[in-house]
């Protein structure tokens, strides 16, 4: 093997990127990691609740990897390809073991075993956790291993560098990237025999979300514009429980419900069993008698109660507020932990409780929390392929096309990959899918590079010079622009429009209207003038560039939503409220037109090992239907930043 000739680039230093880097470096190939932020500060730190895996306790109660697989497929409303999910569920216990060996401080039982908690979409305890900052702890473990490999010279970190464009050679394969040093603003082309995109989600397209400030989806959009297909863009997870804030929506973990938190609104029960608003909107929640608390999730879903999957909880909370039953008639419901006792809450949920205390100024051990849904996770992403096993039970380990995009040599791991979660992600499956992609598919990348007939080092320098010049030229146009448009204003309008039209409830006419708005914003984005044209740490420039890229992805998200004339998982159309397997048991595949608009095709979901079945989560037939108001007002999560 001629290791020194090869190079792999990983873009993004979150869980997926670091797991891939460690695995590829371990296979003997040098890795260059590019990240906008120091990798230890990646958005993965925000994951709170935990990581799912079958475990011995659950197994002895009848749970298995197969159940984990089945729950994930059912939770995703049968849109996910089944072989990758099957493989992931079977790797999950091994991944927990590995993280345990790396020193992740998982919570422990009295005997010293890993403790478990209940999470949405399952009736078994199969979620492993480290306090309420599991993502932070797991990311740190991988950051530490990456630091070790960096110290040994196997990994090179390019931190404070932004990915600008994939470099595609004349045979159609990706053989490098263009990136920019965000301090010196230098633009450079880098050679690589494979490029792994691990750049996460796109919450910022929706203005306010639970995402970190760098989660613009800009990197995915650039790959999409360069020819990579984008899949299932319309599937955006709106987390049921977020804390509204001036700058972002802060996540209140599903673990709050998994550990016994109850969702309710103050209301009065009528003689016929229906609930109506209480005349006094200003009551102290602690003084409200039990008979005037409407635990609507528990009443409507007696089997799963407060731990129904996220899309269902979100729609129910949204609808309760639209019906005027929200706290004080507004867009808020109570998430109540007070009955659990301070000691229990602080032991199991300290991290998230602190977030609420710090950012709201109230103590959840004393007062019920006020929450509302917020944009949280991108189920869609770059389209990828893989090699299924012949019996469809898993994927072939080490296959060179493992999670490869439609552009050969370009891979997508983690949240930017559209696989695993279908139409709705189950809580605590995200950390798992990110690490699984890195470890399982990283081996495929290593094999692909070792067996490659043509290497980046064979490519002419002109290919790289041209790519760097193309990005320099784009930047010059932006810097020299003399228009009248402010990128922050455009981003704000985009966020408000996307949240109002394309989150909890959607309809054909509203999506059409949003597409027109995005087209208007795209025109205006061509007339941006920067408030800062200097060439040193110019954040204004990076933001303006990402804004244009977000608009391109917004178009794909809206058009996918418009053409998917059904409701499935997180995608709910008031004009097509039922799932339609005959037409739409299919992946939405978007391709980018030269003008930044998208064209949509549907690709049938391949047959798997479980047949689609109705997804009800045991909802009581006589419970009020989950039918939202036809013309929803823009919810609180639509409020743009000041």
């Amino acid at each position: 093997m001629n290791g020194s000739k090869h190079r792999v680039i990983v873009v993004g230093g979150g869980l997926a990127g670091l797991a891939a880097s460690v695995r590829i470096a371990e296979a003997g190939l040098p890795v260059d990691i590019f990240s906008i932020v120091p990798v230890k500060r990646s958005h993965s730190v925000c994951a709170q609740g935990g990581i799912n895996a079958c475990n011995e306790v659950a197994r002895q109660q009848g749970y298995s990897e197969y159940e984990h697989f089945d729950e994930s497929i059912y939770g995703g409303d049968f849109l996910a390809h089944q072989p990758p999910v099957y493989e992931m569920a079977h790797w999950a216990p091994k991944i927990i073991d590995l993280l345990d060996r790396m020193g992740v401080p998982f919570n422990r039982t009295n005997e010293g075993q890993r403790d478990l908690r209940l999470f949405g979409g399952s009736l078994y305890k199969r979620t492993h956790f480290a306090g309420a900052t599991t993502g932070q702890q797991v990311l740190y473990a991988l950051d530490e291993q990456t630091r070790r490999y960096a110290a040994e010279g196997k990994v090179t970190k390019y931190e404070h560098w932004e990915f600008l464009w994939p470099i595609i050679a004349d045979d159609g394969a990706c053989r490098g990237i263009v990136a920019q040093d965000l301090r010196t603003m230098q633009i450079r082309a880098f050679r690589a025999d494979a490029v792994v995109m691990a750049t996460g989600g796109n919450g910022l397209i929706f203005g306010q979300s639970t995402n970190s400030v760098m989660c613009t989806g800009g990197a995915a959009s650039r790959c999409y514009q360069a020819g990579a297909k984008y899949a299932n863009g319309e599937f955006i997870q709106v987390h049921p429980t977020a804390i509204p804030g001036a700058d972002k929506l802060r996540l209140m973990s599903e673990s709050a419900r998994g550990e016994g938190g109850r969702v309710w609104v103050p209301a009065i029960k009528g003689p016929s069993g229906g609930w109506t608003r209480h005349p006094d909107p200003a009551r102290d929640p602690r003084q409200i008698p039990a008979s005037e608390r409407y635990y609507f999730l528990e009443e409507r879903y007696p089997k799963y109660g407060n731990i129904v999957p996220r899309d269902i909880a979100t729609r129910e909370i949204f609808n309760i507020c639209m019906e005027g039953l929200g706290v004080a008639g507004g867009n808020m419901v109570y998430l109540d932990l007070t009955h659990l006792g301070r000691e229990y809450i602080e032991r199991k949920l300290l991290g998230i409780i602190e977030i609420y205390r710090k950012f709201v100024g109230e103590d959840p051990a004393e007062v019920p929390m006020k929450i509302f849904p917020g944009v949280h996770y991108t189920m869609g992403g770059l389209w990828t392929t893989y090699t299924p096993k012949p019996d469809l039970k898993g994927m072939t380990l080490g296959a060179p096309n493992s999670m490869m995009c439609s552009v050969p040599g370009l891979y997508a791991f983690g949240e930017v990959n559209y696989q695993y979660h279908g139409a709705n992600r189950l809580g605590a499956n995200a950390l798992l899918s990110c690490i699984f992609d890195g470890l399982f598919c990283g081996l495929g990348v290593a094999n692909a590079v070792r067996d490659a007939k043509r290497l980046a080092s064979d490519e002419p320098q002109a290919l790289y010079d041209r790519a760097a010049e193309q990005e320099n030229a784009k930047q010059r146009r932006l810097v020299e622009g003399k228009g009248d448009q402010n990128p922050y204003q455009i981003a704000r309008e985009m966020g408000a429009e996307m949240t109002a039209a394309s989150t909890v409830v959607k309809s054909g006419p509203r999506l059409e209207q949003a597409l027109a708005k995005i087209a208007e914003l795209r025109d205006r984005a061509a007339r941006i003038s920067l408030a800062d044209t200097g060439m040193w740490t110019n954040q204004n420039l990076s933001f303006a560039r990402a804004t244009a890229d977000m608009l391109t992805l917004a178009d794909a998200i809206l058009r996918g939503g418009l053409e998917r004339r059904e409701s499935r998982g997180s995608h709910y159309r008031t004009d097509f409220p039922e799932r339609n397997d005959a037409e739409f048991l299919a992946t939405t595949v978007a391709q980018c037109n030269p003008d930044g608009t998208s064209r949509i095709a549907f690709e049938p979901v391949p047959k798997g090992i479980v047949e689609p079945r109705k997804r009800t989560y045991g909802k009581k037939d006589d419970a009020p239907a989950s039918k939202p108001a036809d013309a929803p007002k823009a919810p609180a999560l639509a409020l743009a930043a000041t």
Binding site: D97, P105, G131, Y140, T537
Partner: protein, 278 residues
């Protein structure tokens, strides 16, 4: 009422707060202070105000300037990005709520409060409120802040651990490398030359990370190397025991306990080395 504010406050519940931001165009460039009046809604924090200023970069004199530059990430006080000095105290900007930092409702001007934002002073300034914390990460590498596992293949579970031991490790493991403890430390001095980093004080967070990894059964195999660093120049003996670190830590990590533990480990290490002759 301010007249030069580019956008008038939009809500009756909002008020106007004046910001004094210490600006610097780049390494070696002079500093200046610019004043901005910002309409503030209830629940606003320093980041939401900076975002507003970036979108409306006009000073109180009505002069258009460049948007200020700052680091931020999660905005949930878990990534460690947005450390800065706010009214002279180092902390995370995201969790600094305006109503807590500046409760005065007096409008800007004579008698009105001003929120001052300055970059951390113990690290080289990149631009405005952005600093370069590379030295911090370099020190994590020096003390080998990792568990040396036998690779990423499936080799069974890690060691079992009591809940108390987990709680101790978890507390130390929430360190987000924000740098508050270093900024507040009288012994941690700014050092711009990377060649001097390896002999300058490592500071509380790095010492605490060494203790964390020494406390893990597999991590402990590197304990002698970690203690070599901590017993050398810039090691734990440079601590002056001011205890500022533990007062400013946003995660309330027991840093002084870590420093105490590291001090004892270094002593034992020195005795062992003396008798073994290695």
């Amino acid at each position: 009422m301010p007249t030069a504010t580019p956008n008038a406050p939009t809500s009756s519940r909002s008020r106007t707060v004046r910001f004094a931001i210490v600006r610097c165009d780049g390494p070696g460039k002079p500093e200046r202070t610019e004043l901005f009046d910002v309409p503030v809604e209830p629940g606003a924090n320093i980041i939401s105000c900076l975002q507003w200023i970036a979108a409306n970069p006009v000073t109180i004199e009505g002069v258009r300037t460049t948007p200020p530059t700052w680091d931020s990430g999660c905005l949930e006080e878990v990534c460690g990005s947005c450390t800065m000095n706010i009214n002279g105290r180092v902390r995370q900007a995201c969790s600094a709520l305006i109503d807590a930092v500046s409760p005065s409702t007096t409008p800007p001007g004579p008698g009105g409060a001003t929120i001052t934002l300055e970059p951390m002073r113990k690290f080289p300034v990149v631009r405005d409120l952005c600093v370069d914390r590379a030295r911090f990460f370099r020190n994590l590498e020096r003390i080998k802040a990792w568990v040396p596992v036998d690779g990423t293949y499936s080799l069974g579970a890690g060691p079992t651990e009591s809940p108390d031991h987990q709680a101790t490790r978890y507390a130390l493991s929430t360190c987000m490398t924000c740098g508050c403890c270093l900024e507040a430390c009288p012994q941690f001095l700014r050092e711009d030359k990377p060649e001097a980093w390896d002999t300058s004080f490592v500071g509380a967070a790095v010492i605490s990370q060494a203790v964390l990894f020494n406390d893990h059964p597999t991590g402990a195999t590197l304990k002698p190397q970690r203690l070599d660093v901590l017993s050398g120049p810039g090691g734990v003996n440079d601590c002056g025991n001011s205890q500022n670190c533990v007062k400013v830590c946003p995660k309330e990590i027991p840093l002084t306990e870590s420093i105490g533990a590291a001090g004892r480990q270094v002593t034992v290490h020195a005795v062992k080395k003396f008798f073994s002759g290695r």
